[in-house]
Symmetry: C2
Subunit: 620 residues, 2 copies
């Protein structure tokens, strides 16, 4: 009865609010002009921004940055070599221009503005109500315009990208024409692209380097970069005869000046010791002329990807190379990314190894975690996030690890083209304890070896659980596990010390239970899938009619069926024991989801573009 | 290389911060004393708090409140009739004292304090870092102490309870001894309890009532409330002979003064027209003396539960009663909740019907949505949130609803004891459009008829999807659908107009597909479950070994298998058409999750208890 008085319509306050807001913004803008002019005096030193990456293949946009963990923020310095009428810079889930979080500099030809914006699912730009890209300064220099700005890792604004560990997909776009407002920018007509980086570099201290340290450069011998978008170049190098055992304690990229935007990633592999010699090949890796024997050069010694810096081994450990029992042959592989199809560029990039004859206390080792390469682990077609999990069980670590445990200090995640996320978690007594490495924006095109923020100690009886998330929306048949580029893998190569005999600790579903699944699908769906044993597992997967029931039950199978564990000294030699039909590790306690920090008060700047004193911008 | 300088340990600022904070809090506290004294002058009127409910069975704590939708906040007025050394008031998921969000008034015998607190999973109290229960005033009166405070619906503090539509479990506790701090309160030793209310009453306008309106009270005839915790009392009333058709347009509770805390809920049912007469029973509903024929009095005319107010029909509609073709017999059922086992209390509570002979344009009707009462819909034991879904399909609404559609204005959710959540969503062309009614803290002990915030229009071809969530953690065998108290239901009784022939629009899984499930479980698990047709569906469910695979596959079955649809004129008469093996409605677009509003700036008060001038409190 008392409710009627409260249901009267009320007058809408939005108009008045708008007027007040407008006055307020005018005042704020006036203040900011003064602020920006003042900021232009400060010239940041290069050491303020230790990380650097070119954004576009021409190198017109160059990003430097640093990470402040106390402030939970990234400081960016963007060098714009030839400013036209502005640019977009930002981040999105996988590098798309829709649903992106953007810092935008735009000009109407007379005045220039900077603002924090977001793009919706259709690519339409909107000024963000909370300005979290905070402009710190803008400065003209002979080489171009420097923009300095800051972004907290998390902003608690649902329109904003959350900066996390692992891969970040940076996007950029160049405005070729003046625009009268942010909303007028047509994102589909932009000249732009994406660049992947690990934005949150770990804040680890550099171990002291020994005085007897020597260097060796494994570099391409003045290669002419092919005029095609993608080239994998293979070059075989050789250690001197009688080269004794050394420890690699650090390595860093050597990139030919001017090719910074073309050299996408590089790896140095050691060849197999079982062969006395390898041909001195120098050419594309996919050439018909490439000798087959180079397929036996797969043991990773060093890996670098764009945006990565030098890699340091922990002070107690080094990666052994040279000496008896190891091959003298090394294979350098360089991925050239040349989307603008430059012709005749010459390149001598590669990796510089820093090594010492004074061996450190421990040899470092590499262990493979995740899934066995087998078709029994499959992903139905048309899935947007299908999860497969590989287990390194307590039984295996109990048998193979020393009582004092091992220390994992770096990790390289690996899947084929459908991989979207990879995470490895350490579990002890059924309780998840620590994330070993996680990448929620993983890309198969960006497989760096990453130093871990924290060294992870693994003891006998611990479990290492590696989970990969796949997207098969563009595929029409099942994707099975295997070596092929259209088959899938789920691997975490962990770098650790002291080296043990355990090279491989992986799993796959028990094949007998998978057979029960095929039978079940067959009976439940009244379909005639040939269950004859002569039909291969991939063929059986390809013939499944993928309705929701068959999809769900495959997930249930993988979450329930016992596993076959590969607890191996090498890919062919298992540790002694019973490894078939092992129970799945049970997890009774999960790690809590991280709660993002919101930026501390005083909060972000108001939602108004910041005018910049850049003078008039002209068309060419 | 530049990283080493940034890894130095820094001195911990916590001690200094604490000193500064302490000074700050002292100043704030001093200010608040003045504020509280000032606030005590304002005396709120009763009409400021239109909703009222006793919290404890003795009526020592009485809560009144109002809801401000513009402010997105609830204002509480708590009357404490006999203040001891303080009290707790708050909310939690299902009325438990752990993980609760609490306003606490406590006294050390000399000084009293008010603060916003939360209890952890062990029941330990903590002062909340964000004070979202905002004290507005405290006032001594002859009847007791009035505490006035305010709580936003949502606070964006993860420790706080989110006030949503539907049931809210209020909890209270009385401090019998002085305590020196909030942390010293032993929650397990408290005298306390819970009370369920719909806190967010809909803000709907009251339709105008006609001048020829009459009233009729269906009340208990001076019943002596039995001295036991729970009594369902049954009383049969009779309409006058020749009573013509009227429209009930409103009803309200009549509760005997002093029994406010004992009368838990009341319902008026109309008996079946097929019987000419019903015995005039007056006694407990579970008595052996109760005539069986009263089981035919199940058509709900009116329902009220504690904390509810008057129920109004929309101005175009009324609930028909009287006239030819309807029974003259009504059954009143009262649930007395008497946990303190008072003896000899007399009660004449009931429901007052407001009706008119001037019929409104439309008869109102009641339609049953959800699941058919059949054992084929089952919940495995040991589940903490198992979901079952019942469908009212497009095919049924196409056939049974008028082209102009129907308007749902009220809803009563119903499950048996394992029910924890119920929600009905309207879907059109595969897209979810609107929540009809949702209760995320549903309790089978609190089944009000609730007026909807917004009337929901349903047209031919629409789908009404009702989802119930169950908890069977305390059960050791499967819970099947059915009428029994340990069987389950999933029903939404929707009140709508104009009345149609469609009384029941529900579904259940196709029994043939369930049979395939039993076969599949049998084969996959190598178990010997008797699949003989003479074994009943409940027996088959009871014999399943409930591993994760069998649980998951049952979920997959319910999400995939075709359904049997009950599109009925009455429980026995179907509309013509094919209703077996119907496809599940497919949903291509879900309603977005609501994003909670955070309280607008200026933000909540600092984390410091507010001192109250209550004078010294004494023990009895």
């Amino acid at each position: 009865r008392m409710q009627s008085s409260r249901s009267k319509p009320c007058s809408c306050p939005s108009l008045k609010l708008r007027e007040v807001a407008s006055m307020y913004f005018t005042m704020v803008a006036a203040f900011l002009v003064i602020l920006v002019v003042a900021l232009q005096g400060s010239v940041p030193r290069e050491s303020d921004f230790p990380y650097k990456v070119p954004l576009d293949p021409q190198g017109l946009l160059e990003l430097s940055w640093n990470v402040s963990y106390p402030e939970q923020a990234v400081h960016f310095q963007l060098l714009v070599r030839e400013l036209r009428f502005g640019l977009l810079f930002g981040m999105s889930d996988r590098g798309e221009f829709e649903n992106a979080d953007l810092a935008v500099l735009w000009s109407d030809g007379h005045n220039s503005y900077f603002g924090d914006a977001w793009s919706d699912a259709k690519g339409q730009l909107h000024l963000d109500s909370q300005q979290d890209y905070q402009l710190l300064g803008a400065r003209r220099a002979p080489e171009g315009l420097y923009l300095l700005f800051r972004r907290p890792f998390s902003t608690c604004d649902p329109k904003d990208y959350l900066i996390e560990d692992g891969t970040v997909h940076l996007i950029y776009g160049i405005l070729e024409k003046p625009v009268h407002s942010l909303q007028a920018i047509n994102i589909s007509a932009l000249h732009g692209g994406l660049q992947r980086v690990q934005l949150l570099k770990p804040n680890i201290s550099i171990p002291e380097l020994p005085s007897d340290m020597k260097t060796m450069e494994i570099t391409a011998p003045d290669v002419v970069i092919p005029s095609q978008e993608t080239t994998y170049w293979c070059y075989v190098a050789e250690l001197p005869a009688g080269f004794p055992k050394h420890h690699i304690i650090m390595y860093e990229p050597v990139v030919t000046a001017g090719n910074e935007a073309l050299v996408h990633h590089m790896e140095v592999f050691q060849c197999a010791a079982e062969f006395d010699s390898f041909p001195h090949y120098n050419g594309p890796c996919d050439s018909k002329m490439k000798p087959d024997r180079l397929n036996y050069c797969r043991h990773v010694l060093a890996a670098w990807a764009m945006g990565a810096q030098a890699f340091y081994y922990p002070e107690e450990a080094g990666l052994a190379f040279g000496g008896p029992g190891s091959s003298r042959y090394l294979r350098l592989e360089i991925h050239y990314h040349n989307p603008l199809v430059f012709k005749g560029r010459r390149d001598s990039s590669g990796i510089r190894l820093y090594y010492t004859a004074t061996l450190r206390p421990y040899d470092a080792g590499i262990m493979e975690l995740g899934l066995v390469y087998t078709p029994v682990m499959a992903i139905p077609p048309g899935e947007d996030n299908f999860i497969l999990t590989g287990y390194c069980t307590d039984k295996c670590t109990q048998l193979a690890l020393p009582a004092a445990g091992i220390r994992i200090f770096a990790s390289q995640l690996h899947t084929h083209l459908a991989g979207r996320k990879v995470v490895t978690v350490l579990s002890r007594d059924g309780r998840e304890r620590q994330v070993v490495n996680a990448d929620g924006h993983y890309s198969p095109h960006f497989q760096e070896i990453r130093m871990l923020k924290e060294v992870v100690a693994v003891f006998p009886g611990d479990e290492l659980i590696t989970t990969c998330t796949y997207n098969t929306e563009d595929r029409s048949r099942a994707t099975v596990g295997g070596f092929g580029i259209l088959e899938e893998m789920c691997v975490n190569y962990v770098h650790y010390y002291p080296q043990t005999q355990l090279e491989l600790c992986k799993s796959a579903v028990d094949p007998g239970y998978l057979h029960r699944y095929f039978n079940l699908v067959n009976r439940f769906n009244d379909e005639e899938i040939c269950m004859c044993p002569q039909v291969s597992v991939p063929q059986q997967f390809y013939s499944i009619p993928w309705n929701t029931f068959n999809r769900d039950v495959l997930k249930s199978l993988y979450a329930f069926a016992p596993i076959s564990v590969h607890c191996n000294k090498s890919s062919a030699v298992r540790f002694p024991g019973e490894w078939e039909k092992q129970p799945l590790p049970s997890i009774t306690e999960r790690l809590p989801e991280p709660v993002p920090h919101c930026p501390p008060a005083p909060g972000p700047q108001p939602a108004v573009p910041v005018p910049l004193k850049l003078g008039e911008l002209r068309r060419d």
